[in-house]
Amino acid sequence: MSDTIVKIQVTDGTVTDFKDKNLLNAWRLSFLGAILCMAYLVFFHPDPYMRVLKFIPDGLWVTFKVTFMSITGALILGLVTGLGRISRNRFINLVASTYVEVVRGIPLLVQLFYIYYALGRFLRVPDLLSAVIAMSVCYGAYMGEVFRAGIESIDKGQTEAARSLGFNRAQTMFLVILPQAWRTILPPVGNEFIALLKDTSLVSILAVSDVLRRGREFASETFFYFETYTLIALIYLVITLLLSRVVSLMEERLSHYER
């Protein structure tokens, strides 16, 4: 039981530190600022801001759907990949490592195009599901690395203790290692959640009617480009900040035991 807590940083993190109990911290400033800004624009300039706001709700719903389905998919895929990466079975290890290597070497946008049109042409997968699969495949690889690092950060003694009691490898992993690794894994995974939420805007390229595409449709018809994208940016900011708050609350809940 070491006293240091391992921290893993994989991508652009936006999880703010909530230890900062000042009334005026970065999170509150951004969150309240965004809300006030939106309220001001919508109430005092209803044309076009109110029109934009009325145009995009179904897009917002699609963004949420894609985000949460992709997070679920990426978590499952990430866990499987992470376990595969530490597997002693050479074949499984090779498959998992190759997957990570390939996915990390291809830009998300290219993957989205590729998977979307490949799935459409050969498997007739509907558009929303294609987007979710593409996002899951991409983020599954990143999360796989987080899971691997998290699992490897747990002291070998924990495995030995569990195995010496008679637990098999799977029981050891799921009862002893993962519950502990989760603490190390959660901050970077939370960052991945937020990065994923932001990256769902890329699916608008695939004609998935998310909040960004709805905004673009509105702007292309009405020519209110600046106004539309101002509102879209504020909406993304609010959602991202809310999600980062949720992740921080989960982190606090998990720190009920000290190492």
Partner: protein, 250 residues
């Protein structure tokens, strides 16, 4: 202080066991028999292979050559359910290795409820009895991080006992402890020995060895150099390397 073992069949039998780490021979053709009820204390300088020998008994360390039979099971065989064998072998580590995400009580009940399907209430009752035995019942609901080293090691011993093992293996159980805490852990081990538990202990605590050991084993460079009673070891050591080792640590 205790009767000679009457039963002739050894519960642990190691024969011609060798283990290599690259060119290094961690175990070099080692043979050892442990009989039920026997207390074996293994001593030797660091890197002599004593921990490896102990860990070879429950296959935490796989060996390259030789036979290891525990409770009638050839543990090197692929057909042996190693997890079933391990349930009969309690192990205590130098670094305690308690599960930090579980309370003390949960540390004790986890294995019996999951592996032996003991009902939760029954497992908890037994866990409380074991915690009383190691004199730490008041900490049942506490997380391990809140315990001192000595307390942690006593909980670790109780955790191993919760599975009702036939044999207890101790891998330098007091080496990571502050001096003032060593006594409380040794007391628990002495009591366990008095109850007739079969024990294999790797330790530097010569007082403990003198008090409970039926058989002393001295290892150096992966080999068993000398075996004997505590009296033979401490008063009539034969091998010069053992004499030198004892001179250094006593």
């Amino acid at each position: 202080m205790s009767a000679e073992p009457i039963i002739r069949t050894p519960i642990i039998r190691m024969e011609g066991v060798s283990k290599f780490f690259g060119d290094l021979k961690a175990l070099d053709n080692v043979s050892l028999e442990v009989f039920p009820g026997q207390r074996v204390v293994i001593i030797g300088p660091s890197g002599s292979g004593k921990s490896t020998l102990l860990r070879a008994i429950n296959r935490l360390e796989t060996v390259n050559q030789g036979t290891v039979v525990v409770d009638g099971f050839d543990i090197r065989s692929k057909h042996t359910d190693i997890n079933a064998v391990r349930m009969e072998l309690g192990m205590v580590f130098q670094s305690f290795n308690l599960f930090p995400h579980k309370t003390v009580l949960q540390n004790l009940t986890m294995a019996p409820t999951r592996l032996k399907k003991v009902p939760k209430a029954e497992a908890e009752e037994r866990a409380m009895a074991l915690l009383a035995k190691v004199d730490i019942q008041e900490k049942a609901q506490v997380y391990p991080a809140k315990l001192s080293g000595g307390q942690r090691q006593r909980v670790a011993i109780a955790r191993a006992l919760a599975m009702n093992p036939k044999i207890m293996l101790f891998d330098e159980p007091t080496s990571a402890l502050d001096p003032e805490m060593i006594g409380e852990v040794l007391d628990v081990m002495v009591n366990l020995a008095r109850e007739g538990m079969t024990m294999v202990v790797v330790t530097h605590e010569m007082g403990f060895a003198r008090e409970v050991a039926d058989l002393m084993v001295f290892m150096d460079e992966g080999k068993i150099i000398e075996t004997g009673t505590p009296d033979e070891f401490f008063n009539h050591a034969k091998h010069p390397r053992l004499q030198k080792f004892l001179d250094q640590i006593l």
